[in-house]
């Protein structure tokens, strides 16, 4: 973190759907960015710089889409940055945007992240044959399923935990009008009976493929103070951290990656969090497959080794629990890959600002946003709070 204070003063997202056939990528971004600007009571011309993120270009097959999107984002002639850290990119993008303000370079920065999965084939793009190697890769689910199995064995977790997470997140998603999936009829049994796609991961425990975008307007202390004076609570950024680690290292824990824990420890230290379980009021974490909730609860310091699943089972992570997790319905309800990390960061900010609507948790003073990507090798987190850091 730099010297200057930074806050989130505007948040916008699109309605997320399997196919947004009504807008192009540029239109999708404008929908999210326009809403974030309206929320911040700003115009396009007031923005100093734009930071944009998305997952691999190969998804939509457009190389460096930021070039043609500059016009749509109103940043012709302004500084523009592209960030790319695989699935964690939405989080990293927001952090890079915040650094432009904390470093004292800009006052008002717009940051946007997106994916239009209906114009892409992510499952294929993530399973490209590697020369001289058996063609066994079966997308992200095929990659992560063995790691989920390792967690279940290591933590001695009962089988139903993943299904409980899926049920909770899908029910939370019903309260979020922007969520892609609104499964009104979902039950524990319907999840249990859904097809085993990548054993031990069921269809109903898997994120959807979504079209969508998220945008945040970040402001300097002066900008945020003005918003507060007009009755719009800023979400003050109290800490930001990113970590990465090599995928193919003999000394690497793919279940609870060291990089994820170091990222959490760093961001908590900045935010003055000494006991994450007590000091954090709500968490929005990147859970594309249900079992990642208990895994990240342990990796982010909310539970002792092997105990994360007990928090899920005891309802601690429910919307009305002691530590609500994925109030928005999370990635399990909405997955425009490049935007998914920023949606987590944005939801944490909404909770702090008190603008989360039907999925608002009472009196959130500190919230955590978390994203991961690649083969569990990129991590991005921030802590936002009601109070100035």
């Amino acid at each position: 973190m730099g010297k200057e204070r930074v806050a989130v003063v505007g948040i916008g997202q699109t309605k997320h759907e399997a196919t947004r056939g009504d807008v192009s990528v540029a239109g999708l971004l404008r929908e999210a960015a326009g809403r974030a600007l309206a929320d911040a009571e700003m115009t396009w011309s007031e923005i100093d710089a734009v930071v944009i993120g998305k997952a691999p270009d190969f998804f939509e097959g457009v190389m460096m889409p930021e070039l043609f999107l500059a016009d749509a984002l109103g940043c012709t002639g302004k500084p523009m940055f592209r960030v790319h850290t695989a699935g964690s990119v939405g989080g990293s993008t927001a952090i890079v945007a915040s650094q432009l303000i904390s470093a004292g370079i800009h006052e008002k920065v717009l940051t946007v992240a997106f994916e239009k999965q209906s114009e892409s084939e992510a499952m294929w793009a993530l399973s490209l044959p590697i020369p001289f190697t058996p063609p066994l890769h079966a997308g992200a689910g095929g990659y992560f399923a063995p790691h989920v199995r390792s967690y279940i064995r290591r933590a001695k977790a009962p089988d139903h935990i993943g299904m409980l997470v899926a049920l909770k997140d899908r029910q939370n998603g019903l309260k979020n009008p922007y969520a892609h999936l609104h499964e009104h009829d979902i039950t524990f049994d319907s999840i249990k009976d859904s097809m085993m796609l990548w054993d031990p991961i069921r269809y109903a425990e898997t994120c959807p493929s979504s079209d969508g975008a998220c945008a945040l307007v970040l402001g300097s202390e002066k900008v945020a103070d003005e918003a507060a004076a007009q009755g719009r609570q800023p979400a003050w950024i109290q800490g930001t951290a990113m970590r990465s680690e090599p995928t193919l290292s003999a000394e690497r824990d793919t279940v609870l990656p060291l990089g994820g824990a170091l990222c959490a420890a760093d961001v908590y230290k900045q935010a003055g969090i000494t006991n994450p379980r007590k000091d954090v009021d709500a968490v929005e974490m990147y859970v594309p497959f249900s079992w990642f909730e208990p895994m990240w609860l342990e990796n982010l310091g909310f539970a002792e080794p092997g105990e994360g699943w007990k928090m899920t089972e005891d309802g601690v992570t429910a919307l009305d629990g002691d530590l609500p997790v994925n109030m928005s319905g999370g990635v399990l309800c909405t997955n425009p890959i490049g935007a998914s990390g920023m949606l987590r960061f944005g939801e944490a900010a909404m909770q702090v600002r008190g603008t989360a609507g039907d999925h608002q948790v009472d009196s959130v003073r500190k919230a955590v946003g978390h994203a991961y990507g690649g083969g569990s090798q990129f991590f991005a987190m921030w802590v936002v709070g009601k109070d100035k850091p």
Binding site: G142, M195, D199, P246, L256, A261, L262, R277, P305
Partner: protein
């Protein structure tokens, strides 16, 4: 979208609602030194690991560097063609571009003498009987069909030996993991060896690092 007012000059232009850009990439893949050495071994029906120094981790297949040490891996070590399943997944999903018949079991296999698991197919056993710790062996193609590719091993099958319940699963330390918070305390950078300074590592936990 209602928020956008198009200028009059664009009033009659058909709106762009979707852009589809099929991508094709034809390329010549050069295996590079480490993979070439590995694949030459495969043509002899040998599985050759590589390491940076005689005491460091044995990488199979090697990418040319040991990421822990930040060092090249010039030393070649033949590893066994039997190993232990460290985890696995049963794939039931057919998708565009996949040539595999479903269901299939892809497993992470730690070959005896290697320090990193390779991903390969498990056959000759029903999918619901595959388990972590199961001992498996390589099944090669017919000699005439051996080529410089890991696909020259058709699959792995059970050896029938007792399971290795103590298999070293990468990253696991004493039943927890490198990224665990024990007693509410976060791990530190020193949990793994710093390739630049040589400090840190898991030796104190009984690991080889």
């Amino acid at each position: 979208m209602p928020e956008i007012q198009l200028p009059a000059s664009l009033a009659d232009v058909e709106p762009v609602r979707s852009v589809r850009t099929p991508a094709q990439l034809d390329y010549t893949f050069t295996a590079g030194d480490a993979t070439t050495r590995f694949l030459k071994g495969i043509t002899q029906k040998k599985i050759i690991g590589q390491q940076a120094n005689p005491d460091s981790r044995v990488y199979v297949p090697a990418r040319g560097a040991d990421p822990e040490l930040g060092a090249a891996t010039p030393i070649e070590v033949e590893v066994a063609q039997v190993g232990t399943v460290t985890s696995f997944c049963v794939v039931n999903l057919q998708f565009y571009g996949s040539g595999m018949e479903i269901p299939y079991t892809s497993a992470l296999i730690m070959l005896d003498g290697a320090d990193l698991s390779i991903m390969h197919l498990i056959q000759e056993i029903p999918a619901d009987q595959v388990r972590i710790g199961m001992r498996v062996e390589a099944v090669w193609r017919d000699d005439a069909d051996i080529e410089p590719t890991l696909e020259s091993i058709k699959w792995f099958r059970p050896t029938g030996e007792p399971d290795d319940v103590n298999v070293r699963i990468p990253g696991e330390i004493r039943g927890t993991g490198l990224g665990s918070w024990v007693g509410g305390v976060a791990p530190t950078e020193l949990t793994v060896r710093n390739p630049r300074t040589g400090e840190g590592g898991t030796a104190e936990f009984g690991g080889e690092g």
